[in-house]
């Protein structure tokens, strides 16, 4: 993508004023998106992102610069400008790039570019028909098709030189149910780090029906009651509770500056003994997987919490310097426009022993969150909020009527301790996670769990 000799020269130019680490990140990305509304292709855009990011450290001071212009003169100029903002006394004498055997854990069988736009439209039409015909209450179906092939070259002054290709595709289906003036939506967005073979492995029509079923269920639902109650959160995207309530607080981004409540807590019991949590960037073809992170460190599988005890943080190079820790393959960024920082990959609570049926029947009254929406968290206080996309009340150990508009709020540290049942049905979902290094694909998973008590935000007066 960029000549090795030029990369080397840029690294030397970047260290001209004594910085002790320099990195070059070159990205060439192909993007393609098709938007279908009610079976009609409304827009389609195809394009190419191309840019170079240059990062320099001097101790824990960092500078990041990027440009789209890859001419030798410009890159040396940008590297020099960035270098001038730092002072140090390090001198790099020689640079020998180490090119080892490249890792490739995520085989791509069918090149996304080998399919025509029309092939992709046929896929979207199937999803549209399947959702629309589910029920007369479905008034609108939106299907967005996305594909991204990101080629990267990452090299640094320590000799790393990695070239990698990340291929991802995702189809996002939103079904809208209408009744009178009311509207409710249902959503599914399957995706993977895979080629077009993804759509042979999954049944897109089944996902579309599920999105429609969710919308129809919710349009018939009454508002959720508010107040404190036990909450059962189902598997797959339900793992967003761990992602938000705890995962962000284990990123070195907030741990290094001690703005996380989990800073300085390694070895301490921070969660119920039933909780083992893992961040694994090596899952083959996983949505949040990569061979290497965006700092040329191989991704790895890390146990974050084992039986409730905090075992590991997620660490990037810069924050690793601040913490005196090695990077853990967690340095990620949306694109060359962002300096990388520590981020989650595929993060999940490991399977436990209870069956989903046992968990429901052990709950006399509470909320069953079958499908979670998104959420956010304040890493300093651990306060979080999640929306429940599809919820039900549990009465006498049985799933009762559906409820809409529920939000779960609480503090991560409390919730982790209040997980009192963990199911055996581990599953994964796909999300986009936003933070200071941009929006990155994040795999999210868990089995069904029960939290003994959570505040449910709803519009109806509490029943209990």
């Amino acid at each position: 993508m960029l000549d090795k000799g030029l990369v080397e020269d840029v690294i030397f130019a970047a260290l001209a004023s004594g910085g002790d680490f320099a990195e070059v990140f070159v990205e060439n990305s192909y993007n393609n998106a098709i938007k279908m509304v009610s079976g009609e292709v409304e827009e389609a855009i195809t394009g190419n992102d191309y840019g170079i990011g240059i990062r320099i450290f001097s101790g824990t001071n960092a500078v990041y610069a990027f440009t789209n212009n890859d001419s030798r003169d410009n890159l040396l100029k940008v590297a020099g400008e960035a270098a001038r903002t730092l002072q140090g006394n390090f001198e790099l004498n020689t640079l020998n790039f180490i090119t080892g055997q490249p890792i490739n854990r995520h085989p791509i069988l069918v090149d996304l570019r080998s399919k025509t736009q029309q092939d992709k439209v046929e896929l979207l039409k199937k999803a549209n028909r399947s959702a629309k015909s589910y029920d007369d209450l479905i008034s609108q179906v939106l299907v967005n098709y996305l594909e991204n092939i990101q080629q990267v070259l990452i090299a640094n002054s320590e000799g790393a030189f990695v070239e990698d290709e990340r291929v991802r595709t995702r189809t996002m289906i939103q079904a809208v149910a209408s009744r009178g003036n009311e509207k409710q939506t249902g959503f599914h967005g399957p995706g993977a780090q895979m080629g077009f073979e993804l759509y042979d492995k999954i049944d897109i029509e089944e996902y579309a029906r599920e999105a429609a079923r969710m919308a129809v269920t919710m349009i018939k639902a009454d508002f959720a009651p508010g107040g404190k109650m036990p909450v059962v959160i189902d598997n797959e995207f339900g793992g967003v509770i761990f992602h938000e309530a705890c995962g962000h607080g284990l990123e070195a981004t907030s741990v290094a500056k001690k703005t996380s409540i989990y800073a300085d807590k390694l070895g301490e019991q921070i969660a119920s003994q039933l909780v083992t949590a893992i961040d694994d960037g090596t899952i083959p073809n996983g949505w949040g997987s990569q061979n290497y992170d965006d700092e040329a460190v191989p991704m790895e599988k890390k146990v974050l919490i084992e039986k409730g005890v905090l075992k590991s943080y997620m660490v990037d190079r810069l924050n690793g310097r601040r913490m005196g820790s090695n990077p853990t393959g967690s340095g990620r960024r949306q694109s060359y426009r962002y300096a990388p920082t520590s981020r989650m990959t595929n993060t999940y609570i490991a399977a436990g022993n209870s069956s989903p049926e046992e968990i429901i029947s052990a709950t006399e009254y509470g909320l069953y969150a079958r499908c979670m929406g998104g959420g956010s968290v304040n890493p300093a206080t651990g306060e979080f909020n999640f929306s429940v996309r599809e919820g039900y009340l549990i009465r006498d150990g049985k799933i009762a009527e559906p409820v809409r508009g529920a939000t779960l709020i609480g503090k991560g540290s409390d919730v982790l301790k209040k997980i009192d049942l963990v199911g055996n049905n581990l599953g994964f979902g796909e999300g986009m996670c936003g933070s200071i290094s941009g929006s990155v694909p994040a795999g999210i998973g868990q089995p069904m769990i029960r939290v003994s008590e959570l505040t449910v935000g709803g519009r109806k007066e509490s029943e209990q």
């Binding site: 394009g47 190419n48 610069a65 509207k183 959420g375 304040n378």
Partner: protein, 448 residues
């Protein structure tokens, strides 16, 4: 970098049989810097440019973009546009020949460009220091940053239209963590300006720190309906979330809570909402929109009545009206959509303290969380984590957290009883929104 000639591109496009073509170019330059413990912990320099081609064939519009600007990219653009035109259903696409007149504005501040990096670094260090000086319970300044951004946009089309403008802005942002015993609270504040000399680090630090320490001892409340003051930034955030459905596209697709409400009362009589592309210091200030249509200022909701939706060329044609100049494109990488420009609720004349004094027992909400997930822009329903203060007999008596507020945005607009005079524009995101604080008669609060 080689400059791609639009004439050459359009000439080659003729060979593809394209009827009309438009080349959109965007160039940004920005600087961002963060200070942590009086050291520059991040310094970012960015130069970005890209271009997008839109072409019309048989009424259908195809898109393609590139950040790589060379001969091969030009060929790719034309091929990709052609592939995309083939699958488009709608054949009523339009590439605009130009408006008769464009407002003369200059949203670009030359003064801002001349500031030396050393001055910016010094300013951010002073901001961090001011935060620690304000209160000894400040444990960490987790974000202390300065950023300035300059953007140039240009539209050229095959009918000879040539438009361009440049805009720039700078801001300071501070977020602090305060600690008392084991209790941790956060507060943040920002300032956005085109005039570097306006930055007041003490004021920003005091606001962020005072807010954080004011929350010590916060606890929840019994669930129920309460009168509520939504502080200026909270109501502006709600407006930003739900204003997307003022788009005629959302309305035409049946995805708007404002559907069927044109010329009807959708808000209380004391509520006027303005879309102002000429607002001084607005991040969205521009003389033309993403399709090259002249922008204009309008009252979208006037004394509670919905007077217009926001249109681009496509939706305007379908409704038989003129485009309101609200075509929007996030960047050359995106589709043309519809968005408000600088949109705000007009301030009233009641001071913030008077709003508080008006509550017998109620809550001031100073922050909501989860807008991207707990608010449904189609139905208008929201349920959001929130915190603020409990008011009794017209006085703030204690901080409140671990509550949610839930309701429907249209109900909120209709129940606005009092409109404050404390108008502030928020930090820009996918639009630039502002509001004064407002008092709402009744809102559902869930707590204990």
């Amino acid at each position: 970098m080689m400059e791609l000639s639009s004439q050459e591109l359009f000439a080659r496009g003729d060979n593809y049989g394209f009827n009309r073509m438009e080349l959109y170019r965007e160039k940004t330059r920005s600087l961002s810097l963060r200070v942590f413990n009086q050291e520059v912990d991040h310094y970012g320099i960015a130069e970005n440019q890209g271009m997008a081609l839109r072409a019309l064939h048989g009424g259908k519009i195809g898109y393609a973009y590139s950040e790589k600007i060379d001969q091969a990219s030009m060929a790719n653009l034309l091929e990709q546009v052609q592939d995309n035109i083939r699958i488009i259903s709608n054949s009523k696409g339009e590439i605009f020949s130009g408006s008769e007149e464009y407002q003369t504005i200059n949203p670009y501040s030359a003064q801002l460009v001349g500031i030396k990096p050393e001055k910016k670094i010094e300013l951010v260090k002073r901001l961090e220091q001011a935060a620690f000086n304000r209160d000894e319970r400040v444990a960490t300044v987790n974000y202390c940053l300065y950023s300035d951004l300059e953007i140039e946009k240009e539209i050229k089309n095959s009918m000879g239209l040539e438009l361009n403008y440049a805009n720039n802005l700078a801001y300071l942002y501070l977020s602090v963590v305060a600690k008392e015993g084991e209790e941790i609270r956060t507060g943040s504040h920002f300032m956005l300006t085109q005039d570097f000399s306006e930055f007041d680090v003490v004021k920003i630090a005091n606001q962020a720190v005072d807010e954080a320490v004011s929350l010590f001892g916060a606890s929840s409340l019994p669930s129920g309906n309460y009168p509520v003051i939504l502080r200026y930034d909270v109501i502006a955030d709600l407006l930003a979330t739900f204003a997307t459905t003022l788009s005629a596209e959302s309305v035409q697709k049946g995805l708007s809570l404002f559907q069927g409400k044109l010329d009807q009362a959708v808000a209380a009589e004391n509520v006027t909402i303005v879309d102002d592309p000429f607002f001084s210091g607005g991040a969205m200030t521009a003389p033309f929109d993403a399709e090259g249509v002249a922008t204009r200022k309008k009252k979208v909701i006037e004394q509670g009545r919905l007077t217009t939706y926001l249109h681009n060329l496509k939706t305007a044609r379908q409704d038989g009206v003129e485009s309101t100049g609200n075509a929007f494109r996030g960047s050359y990488k995106g589709f043309i959509d519809i968005a408000p420009t600088n949109m705000y609720i007009e301030p009233g004349d009641i001071a913030y303290q008077e709003l508080i004094a008006s509550l017998e027992r109620g809550i001031v909400i100073i922050n909501v969380q989860g807008l991207h997930s707990g608010a449904n822009p189609v139905s208008g329903d929201f349920s959001l984590g929130a915190y603020g203060y409990l008011v009794e007999d017209g006085k703030i008596i204690r901080p409140v957290d671990q509550i949610t507020i839930a309701g429907n945005f249209l109900e909120v607009l209709k129940r606005i009883e009092l409109v404050g005079d404390d108008f502030v524009m928020s930090l820009p995101g996918a639009g630039h929104f502002g509001a004064p604080s407002v008092m709402i008669k009744k809102l559902a609060v869930a707590g204990e």
